[in-house]
């Protein structure tokens, strides 16, 4: 009875939050809420590495600023939230 079930994940039609990897989730989240694709005051795109963007996100959400995609950060990204971007260009 303790044999683990072989789970099969399927793509549900019209499921907007699709099964995606944590890296994919983070990339989409950082973009949607304004942490990447940031413009400088000059209008030029700011050099925003994923690590820098993650630090910014972690600071905004009051998490440890590790700059890496740790579990706490992924969990935070999966929380229900307001759609207004945190960082505004």
């Amino acid at each position: 009875w303790c044999v683990p079930l072989k789970s099969v994940y399927v793509a549900f039609p019209h499921d907007v939050i699709k099964n995606m990897t944590d890296v994919q989730l983070a990339a989409e989240y950082l973009k949607r809420y304004g942490y990447t694709d940031v413009l400088q005051k000059s209008g030029l795109p700011e050099d925003m590495s994923n690590s820098k963007a993650l630090r910014k996100l972690q600071r905004q959400l009051g998490l440890d600023e590790t700059g890496s995609l740790d579990k706490a950060t992924v969990d935070a990204m999966k929380q229900p939230r307001c759609g207004v971007p945190d960082i505004r260009n």
Partner: protein, 563 residues
Amino acid sequence: YQTFTGDLKWDSKDVSYRVVNYSPDMDASVIDDAFARAFKVWSDVTPLKFTRLFDGTADIMISFGVGDHGDPYPFDGKDGLLAHAYPPGKGIQGDAHFDDDEYWTLGTGPAIKTYYGNAEGALCHFPFLFEGKSYSSCTTEGRTDDLPWCATTKDYDKDKIFGFCPSELLFTFGGNSDGAPCSFPFVFLGVKYDKCTTEGRNDGYRWCATTGNFDTDKKYGFCPNRDTAVIGGNSAGDPCQFPFTFLGNQYSACTSEGRDDGRLWCATTSNYDTDKKWGFCPDKGYSLFLVAAHEFGHALGLDHSNIKDALMYPMYKYIKDFSLNRDDIDGIQYLYGSNTGPNPTPPEPQFTTSSSILPTKPTPSEKTTTVHVDPSQDVCQINEFDTITEIQKELHFFKDGHYWKNSKKGEREGPFLTSKKWPALPKVINTAFEDQQTQKIYFFAGKQFWVYTGTEVLGPRKIEKLGLPSSLDKVEGATQRGKGKVLLFNGENFWRLDLKAQTIDKGYPQFTDAVFGGVPPDSHDVFLYKGSFYFCRENFYWRMNAKRQVDRVGYVRYDLLKC
């Protein structure tokens, strides 16, 4: 806290809002109340006043939508993104949008308001016992008409208190059928439908015809969600179909199989593998009140805070006893200032009366010294009257020991000292009405009331003597209905007073919103004028006609006082 770049804010302290449409998840009155409470969160700590409009363009237009709902920021299905709002400004600015792929509740599971039955509109109590069996959702057990029902106490067998749950068999909302129930089967574009459908729409909302043929009659309404309906997926609003087949296996309950996020789902047909119809199973849902309060913060000019306990923190968290964080208060008061300072008080009228008020006719020997009322006291500057009532066909406005009246000629007269005409009354009265049969005038203040017949007065007497509960702190509104019956209001409840018997009729209190839908739940004055009910909140009134339709929201000072 953060404000939007440039400190975007409303220029006026009077901000209007309009609820453009409703979610099928909750009754319209519950949604209206959640929004009103969400605005109150902000008006409690600022000088802001919020007024609801029923048509036209308001500063804050509130709507529910799914996916791509007409702005550049589509919603994302159930969970994830819940809502968004725009900072103050014209057009779409200031508007608030709520994702209707969420399950909107009051945050603790289904908030099912009942209809008919004997529960007077109370919410379902889950779980409840019926014939010894426990039910955690509305049921059709015990009925032959398929109408889902629930108990509103924990034990139906003992209490026998019940109401019907929202279903398309009971009513529809929106559309053009005044809430009529669905008519099944109905014909749409030549095809027969025996349940609500999303056909013909691209927004996923379920609808039905309210006559047998939509093609000829064009009568329709939207279907309320049953409490057992799935959320999101591609069958929102349909019930789970148990058992269902998924990857060849049969399931008789919601499952998380097939998903890596652990969320429970079910199929809405008997075979997912062939039909691919599914949705998420109902959960606790999101508190519309909390999310709305957050979004209205944006609509007023606040951006996200990084304080975890602040309302303006971007993540949702259910809080039972909500109060604003200091950070939120600092933010909104930075934009609009506070309302915590002392309110301006009118000069005290200097007069003396007997301190013991007896139920007797005042004698000429009683010394009542009055001074002139300051004529500069501007009635048009008064934001909230203690009471408004019609006496001898003249509308009277009472405030802090003074009153004004609109004469039969339509001219405004006053201020007069209340003590001069009705010396037994305290300075502040909460409501008054004139018995149209006897011309007796009833005044209520706190837990007491007085009855004037000409210059003779009876009182003060305790309102308990009328059969009102001893816990009631005051009567805030009164309207005479028919001969010898008066409705007495206090917030969410009202009672019917039999003037002849001088007692409250059986079956009361009733819920104000169950009978008078669409008026503010916190009206501080209710009165009858020219055949319409008026519900007042501060300087605004909601006028309800005899058909119980709110046909106007207006200003007391402009429309009634003719300022």
